[in-house]
């Protein structure tokens, strides 16, 4: 049976304010509160609320209907602050049980291309947030804008995810069809779900375009296309942003009516629905090798819209040059700013590719770059001040040391675990007292290691302490 896997992204950036270079060192607040409130309310009102209400109704009316979402951390913060009703709706739809929440990097940033530790820390943070909000730890991952390559695949698999969503980009698929389950070339445990570009973009890009030859698109026509796919091609991945409904296409285009009609008409044609995690249980037909970055953006389906020109690369390199320092510092405000500065949209405003129109408050890529670099200048000096002007080499050395020690502790924990098991085998009589003690000791040690690095390694504690800034 053919199955449609519907997935929608919910992400809005925290808009940066106009920040002149005279503000560097004087003003540490970077956000355009008015624009943030205005835009998130506008989007919630025009798009998120009506489309979620529609989806909730669809779930209630059609028990076989299923849909997946992912939230970015920064988007979530915006919603919590300005439009909590959207979160209530998400909880309501979650309660139907026909919904799955995926994990993505907290900041919607490009850390996966720059810094492994920061990336996994972010993912973990987001995963915790999702568990806290919706009660279930996500099993499937989607990177910001579906950015993917083999290395990212391996890393995501190592974090314990079963599957990852990415683009069915022509340059990696070649003659292959996106309508199958594949797996990551560098780790077969990780399943790949590939977006069907044409069928997805029929809705997300072209739905209300009157110059499109298929306009107007009705649900039956669209489902006929799905039904007409060759026998055996059973997985139809339709991924998009939730703002497709209401922002990309105004509600007056009746796009919600289109959506509503899908479950019923799909049933007529014998097409079902599936959640990403269900698909990941299925068998893969083969590996897909992705040596270069792919994403769901632009015709190139690569990362050129964020890192295409020298300005973007400079900003990117400069931002991630302090990634380690930010990660180990305990400063909450710095880490919040770090999230919002990472959001990939900031880089997209700087693109010089032709045809890109939306630039937020900026009127040119140079303007966007200048503003971002001013803020980054202030941010980096704040980060460096935390370290009391210690030079880079010293700090990098210490950070590496901390990391090594952490690895060592993890390895030792494993060793303890192993030995304990052995011990159990040899003298089951002594079991009562010892393991309990050890397990407790281990637990606390691990907790300390996770939460605060300054208290981690016992032998070299004094040196490590010097490196770590005092939390506010």
């Amino acid at each position: 049976m053919k199955k449609i896997c519907l997935y929608f992204e919910i992400h809005q950036i925290i808009h940066l304010k106009r920040y002149r270079f005279f503000d560097i060192g004087r003003d540490h607040y970077y956000y355009d509160d008015y624009e943030n409130e205005r835009s998130i309310n506008d989007i919630a009102e025009r798009s998120y609320v009506p489309s979620l209400q529609t989806l909730i109704q669809m779930c209630k009316d059609n028990p076989e209907f299923k849909v997946a979402f992912s939230l970015s951390g920064v988007g979530l913060e915006q919603l919590e602050l300005h439009a909590p009703q959207v979160i209530d709706l998400l909880k309501e739809i979650n309660a139907t049980g026909q919904v799955e929440f995926l994990c993505e990097p907290y900041s919607h940033g490009l850390a996966s291309l720059a810094n492994e530790e920061s990336f996994s820390a972010e993912v973990k943070r987001m995963s915790d947030r999702i568990k806290e909000l919706f009660g279930k730890r996500p099993k499937v991952f989607r990177n910001s804008s579906l950015i993917y390559n083999d290395d990212i695949g391996a890393q995501v698999a190592a974090m314990g995810f079963k599957g990852i969503l990415t683009e069915g980009a022509k340059q990696v698929l070649g003659w292959k069809s996106p309508h199958y389950i594949y797996h990551c070339a560098s780790d077969p445990r990780l399943k790949l779900l590939l977006r069907d570009i044409k069928l997805s973009e029929d809705i997300t890009e072209r739905f209300s375009r009157q110059d499109w030859s298929e306009y107007p698109l009705f649900a039956d026509k669209w489902l006929d296309w799905i039904a007409a796919t060759p026998e055996g091609e059973d997985v139809i991945n339709i991924f998009g942003e939730l703002v497709t409904f209401g922002i990309f296409h105004p509600l007056s285009s009746n796009i919600l009516e289109f959506l509503k009609a899908i479950p019923f008409l799909a049933k007529e044609r014998g097409i079902g629905f599936a959640l990403p995690s269900e698909l990941c249980e299925e068998k893969s037909v083969g590996a897909i090798e992705v040596p270069y970055n792919i994403s769901w953006v632009d015709e190139e389906r690569d990362t050129s819209c964020w890192l295409g020109n020298v300005m973007q690369r400079e900003a990117f390199n400069k931002l991630y040059s302090v990634a380690d320092r930010v990660r180990v510092c305990g400063d909450r405000r710095i880490q919040m700013d770090w999230d919002s500065l990472q959001a990939s949209n900031n880089f997209r405003f700087m693109t010089t590719k032709p045809g890109y129109q939306y630039r937020g408050i900026y009127d040119s890529p140079y303007d966007a770059f200048t503003n971002y670099m001013n803020i980054l200048g202030d941010f980096i000096s704040r980060v460096n001040n935390l370290y009391g002007g210690a030079d880079n080499e010293e700090i990098d050395g210490l950070i590496t040391m901390i990391k090594n020690q952490q690895d060592e502790i993890t390895a030792k924990d494993k060793e303890i675990e192993r030995l304990r098991k052995k011990l159990e085998k040899y003298n089951p009589t002594e079991l009562e007292e010892k393991p309990v003690k050890k397990a407790a000791a281990k637990k606390s040690a691990k907790k300390v290691a996770d939460v605060k690095l300054e208290e981690t390694p016992k032998p070299k504690k004094t040196r490590a302490k010097k490196a770590v800034p005092k939390a506010e």
């Binding site: 005279f22 560097i24 020298v310 973007q312 690369r313 400079e314 009127d363 303007d367 670099m373 200048g377």
Partner: protein
């Protein structure tokens, strides 16, 4: 196709942007179109103009009949002209101008440039144009800038050939709205008679339509271009100032160019940064005012006034700069940023500059927004990425803007005027 052109300046004698533009337009047409022949009328050629077009010195065209023999004429006229030309002109004198102040050849003298009696010279130029128009064969008339509009109109009335006028600037740009009524009437009259009005930018075109009440159908934006730099200029090495950066203004220091905004922005930058210097090159009526302003702001030690730059010095100045700024209040086109970009110097221009319409790899700010201007200057000086991008991409962009392309666009308009009777039917 033969074009009779009237111009006021031509290289190597350069007073302002007009000479460069006149040279570019004519050279671009000759290079791009083998059948084009251009006769260029100048008030006072210096004799060292390039020979790709035929130059007529208006100060060698007789308007009063003088009887001289061949050898005497030959000894008196410059070598770009033959005695036959002289006699040809003499045969087409159309009225009695003996009351005018002429020399022994029956010609009028011109001071050249922009002397005090400019209006007299414009009038004399137009009288002589009558003689030229009667003696020459041509298909179309092309007049550059308001000084030559009366001559163009006169030639059109005499010959019946279509008239194109080229608006390099209007009095609205020069005077910030306080127009000189005499100049306005000359401009308006020229435009009213023109079959085609070529403006150097859309900005100028809008002024022509709005302020001079011209029919939009006959107004066209024909943007200027630049010539590739000669080897001599390419060989000038770029100067590395080490830690210091140099930000340059280069142009006439006059109200139209917005020099005070440059000083204001410089002041903001100097407050925050110790290693940026400002070069304020050029001369003009606001020179001393600007020196005073810089001193009053307390940044006179960081703002330098090297004075008027000529010829190669201009390019040395661009090459020694890290950023070029043109904060013009109203700039019909503004060729300077293109030249700076050719030298690999990124530019910041005001949104009120016509060249911004064809340039993408420059930073555009409103001339009054000194905060944005200062921010852009600071960003270019501190962020390597932006500087590299604008330098490299700017070079590529400006290499695509050629006079030959401009020539082709002008030719299309000519053809429309000559063969289809213009744009208004």
């Amino acid at each position: 196709m033969k074009v009779l052109m009237f111009g006021w300046e031509f290289p190597p004698k350069i007073y302002g942007g007009l000479a460069v533009a006149s040279y570019g337009i004519t050279k671009g047409m000759i290079e791009g179109q083998p059948d084009a022949e251009i006769t260029f009328c100048l008030p006072k050629p210096c004799g060292e103009e390039e020979k790709f077009l035929r130059i007529i010195g208006m100060n060698q065209v007789p308007i009063v009949y003088r009887d001289h023999d061949y050898d005497y004429v030959k000894s008196r006229i410059p070598d770009y002209m033959t005695p036959e030309d002289y006699y040809n002109f003499r045969n087409h004198i159309y009225a009695d101008f003996s009351y005018m102040n002429v020399n022994d050849m029956g010609c009028m003298e011109f001071a050249g440039g922009y002397p005090g009696n400019l209006h007299d010279e414009i009038n004399n130029f137009s009288i002589i144009a009558g003689v030229v128009a009667r003696s020459e064969q041509f298909d179309i008339i092309h007049a550059h800038d308001w000084l030559t509009y009366p001559a163009g109109v006169h030639a059109k009335l005499v010959s019946g050939k279509p008239l194109c006028i080229h608006v390099h600037a209007t009095d609205f740009d020069r005077s910030r709205g306080k127009v000189n009524p005499t100049v306005y009437s000359i401009e308006k009259n020229g435009m009213d008679h023109a079959d085609c009005i070529m403006c150097v930018s859309e900005l100028t075109r809008q002024t022509v339509i709005r302020e001079y009440h011209q029919d939009p159908r006959k107004c066209f934006a024909i943007h200027n271009a630049v010539y590739p730099l000669p080897q001599e200029y390419l060989d000038i090495p770029r100067v590395d100032h080490g830690k210091e950066k140099v930000v340059t203004f280069l142009g006439r220091i006059t109200m139209q160019k917005g020099p005070e905004y440059f000083i204001e922005a410089a002041d903001l930058v100097c407050k925050r940064s110790k290693n940026i210097r400002f070069c304020f090159a050029g001369s003009g009526d606001k020179y001393w005012e600007m020196v005073d302003l810089a001193a009053a702001k307390g940044i006179a030690d960081r703002v330098h006034f090297p004075g008027f730059q000529r010829g190669k010095q201009v390019y040395e100045c661009y090459k020694a700069s890290d950023v070029f700024v043109m904060p013009s209040v109203s700039e019909p086109f503004g060729i300077a940023p293109l030249e700076a970009m050719q030298c690999g110097t990124p530019s910041i221009i005001s949104k009120q500059s016509g060249c911004g319409e064809i340039l993408d790899k420059v930073i555009k700010v409103d001339y009054w927004d000194i905060n944005a201007m200062a921010d852009a200057i600071y960003s270019l000086c501190t962020n390597e990425g932006l500087h590299t991008y604008l330098r490299d991409e700017g070079l590529k962009e400006v290499a695509e803007i050629t006079w030959v392309k401009v020539g082709h666009r002008i030719r299309k308009l000519y053809d429309e005027c000559i063969y289809n009777g213009g744009f208004i039917h």
